[in-house]
Symmetry: D2
Subunit: 304 residues, 4 copies
């Protein structure tokens, strides 16, 4: 039997003393104030037991990790119809995301790059009655935790400097791939990204992706087939321009955010969340990537 707690402890002790912890995201001013020494891991096994270490209970801004949850909601509402408005291929190119959108006539490469997530936000704004509240409730439901909330300061902070997202939303609009107002869609999007969760909550929220669509409370939110597809997109597109590297080094579907969180999962086995606010040059948590690599190497558990 794998000694999970011992492995987590070893990883934690080994990495917490690393000098280079990366750089905390500073383009969203609210995120820049987070203490860079925070470091936590939470492992949630499908079988029921769970393990944790460090600052697993401090909430942080989930940022792009929210894209998996918004996509899951939109996918469950619109089924394959969502793929009329976006693709599922890796974006590949670090230089020119706007360029790609332009070249491909306003069809985002996948739901996890910003332009794709904005299209998904647009779908939810159209489909939900009270978009922000309804989506928050969805996250609370699947996590089985009604205390989860937006960090409004972060949402406001992002709206103030999110020119690149305004550019992407307007470009989508110019291609006819945004149905609601730019302001309304981005207001939803900035709030979605500004949800605050801790490592436990994220591991619990992603439980359904490791459990064939059934959440912590045993309710089926997605079909087995839909979950398989979401996991596939996480693996190929979940880590900005480092998706190949993550698949290569870690070998699990997962998603990172600039708040320093990374969630990953092994179908039918576990979900695991690491949090360390310092980012590598690709925008993924530096310690988080290392922790997950150590974890899959140590446990010899990966999808490959």
């Amino acid at each position: 039997m794998v000694e999970y707690q011992q492995i987590l402890n070893t990883i934690y002790e080994r990495l917490r003393v690393v000098k280079n912890k990366g750089e905390v995201a500073h383009y969203i001013s609210e995120l820049a104030t987070v203490d860079p020494t925070n470091f936590g891991i939470y492992l949630n096994r499908i079988k029921g037991d769970n393990f944790c270490v460090g600052n697993w209970d401090i909430p942080f801004s989930i940022q792009s990790i929210s894209k998996v949850l918004s996509f899951a909601k939109a996918f469950s509402l619109q089924k394959n119809k969502v793929f009329n408005r976006l693709d599922v291929e890796p974006s590949g190119n670090p230089f020119n995301h706007m360029a790609l959108l332009e070249l491909e006539n306003g069809i985002p490469r996948n739901p996890f790059i910003n332009s794709g997530a904005i299209v998904i936000a647009d779908i939810l704004v159209s489909e939900l009655e009270n978009p922000k509240q309804d989506f928050l409730n969805y996250v609370r439901d699947i996590t089985n935790d009604p205390t989860i909330d937006f960090d409004v300061k972060v949402a406001v902070s992002e709206a103030e400097t999110g020119y690149n997202n305004y550019a992407a939303a307007n470009l989508l609009k110019s291609f006819g791939n945004l149905q609601n107002d730019v302001e309304e869609v981005l207001d939803f999007y900035f709030h979605q990204c500004a949800i605050a969760m801790n490592c436990k909550q994220l591991s619990d929220a992603f439980y359904l992706f490791a459990n064939r669509g059934k959440c912590m409370r045993g309710i089926a939110h997605l079909t087995t087939n839909q979950v398989k597809r979401i996991n596939a997109i996480m693996l190929t597109c979940g880590f900005y321009d480092e998706a190949g590297e993550f698949a290569f080094e870690v070998g699990l579907p997962g998603k990172s955010g600039v708040g320093g969180g990374i969630v990953a999962l092994l179908p039918n086995e576990f979900t695991i969340t690491c949090w360390s606010p310092g980012l590598n040059e690709k925008g993924n948590s530096l310690l988080g990537m290392q922790a997950l690599e150590l974890f899959t190497t140590e446990t010899k558990q990966s999808i490959f």
Copy 2:
């Protein structure tokens, strides 16, 4: 001596009967209502005589032609400082203007592509006390015609659907190359493009570029050197992705707009404006291009 009136008449008679007059721009709804059979030419010689034919006296939306006038104003105000914020190279690539801006870190290729003109608008919003009115007065001054005005309906119409310009302005902002608010800059920009002028007025306005910087009233607005540079940019960048073609076929510095106008000039000799609302696939007036080609072939006058 060149028989200008006869040449204009011949060109007019030959082209007015052409069946394929191109397609009137429809992305700005107000422009879509213009009568496509309008066709006029006005030649303004530096020596003092002038010649005209057809609907030379009907005002139309000058659109991108305004970019030369706004650049001239900004250049006269900030001198070479303007080149800290934009380049003077042809854009070359028809596919991906947004891409280019992204690849080159928010420095527009030249002042005549949209992103470049938006940077110039930003400069004028910063430099002028009452930006819209002051710029309008500048155009009236150099043209010596106080009746020139904005077509506010066109400005409003463009603001409603100008998502691509909103995208470009926000992208510039994300690169730190826009100092004022996106809304304020684009309001100025949409008004600038919505100035209505007829062929005579445009030929009079561009007189200063053919007359070493001195306008119709004999006042020097630009140095000889500045005029030389503006003419060079018109030649290399004045016709979207057809700049090379225009230099090649016509051989004059010039600028076109999606309202169907084209102004061109031979330094020390003349300015000439053609107007026909139907556009070719590159967005330049179809008959206008042909008229100017016939004119330079017939008169054997070009800069080459």
Copy 3:
């Protein structure tokens, strides 16, 4: 227990009558002559049993599938040193593979796009004493089948029209990322792609990737870690610009070739090869893709 034979039979019967079988690759003249009605599947389970249907025993040109085998050989020889000369990220962009190579200064995106495979070929030409023969022997060894051979006609045919590969190799050379002569490297590369194998042989060759590095004869050719990494690259980069789609629809690491073959595998469970020469517009076997999608849907077996 899964009824593999029955599932294969059902898939075979269902797809063999499909009218649209795609188009046989015609850019290599020798491949254009293959009978498009060929259709075979071979399943090789790690536990020892195997299943087959249709034309599983007719050899075909493995083409790009060879890139996995050449990479495996180079990886086992040079270990992580190979990553000094290429990356492991998806290429993403269907339009401009040469462009990508140029933008990224001659470092191919991954070992499965042409430029990357040419770099790997260059490594093998440097490392192997008799490159072509030694590599052929390697393929025979891991497959445990000494009858496998090059189809020299195909190699010659490809050399005659492989201008794009000559362009890529010269571009690599101009960036200093090709150590041997262009001609020598491409001669190796064209032969590697021209190996002829049938569905059984391919399933046997790829056995080692599903069996933690040990081939059919039980010999370890790669470490567990290396195999995990190769599988990750297959998943993210194995299907040209359809890698995301394949991960999404099928959910297995795999590799396709323009000869119409596709190999896929589930670690510790099986390898499976489909062959049908007609390709979809992305260059992957049309029936092969459908067969594998049906197979993983029917068996509910995928890595996700």
Copy 4:
């Protein structure tokens, strides 16, 4: 009357003492050996008088300047048919010339980028009986100087390291836009670039472009219209990615080469050649650009 000799002398004295003379091209090994202190100017007036200063009589490798001459020859042979195989728009983009060729399906942007010049070389290889000798004779004819010759060492040197040109030629071939063998076309191309001429000879060779198509010996090689078009292409495309800058700073049609030569001309007035082997970062002669800017500023002569 303009005091040409005095102006040339002033420019020469002012620039010869400049410390930063740029860097001599080193990617062609033969060119790297040229003495960087060479500096010469030769002005050839259409009226018959001429002026010179410095090392105007030392031959250097004309390199890309030859592209104007090969295009002129091909244009005179095939008329507008040449434009079926290439365009006349500026290339615009410094990053990715190969990319551009790929995106635009093998149609080079203009005859002065390498891929375009290779297409022109292909045309001449098809059209001329003894391509290399016939082209050399053409250059001798228009220059009225039978002593002009290839510098074979330079041609050989370029062939040895010209991988980028091999890449471009093969890419053209893959798009069906090269009719002859890659080797044969590039052999012609490398020789064409390796013609050695001094400032006087180049000014004499380009006389026909300033003289409505008639060469020094009064023979018409091109129509007035063809000359106008070649001059237009020189202005918009003659200086790699600095074409806009040159039009802007100098205001004359011209062409540069990595050998450090620049030829420019004012129609009906003069041709002028500067030579200084040190290049700026864009690959144009550093002193040559400055000399021409001073010349047009001093003489107030430009096409604008």
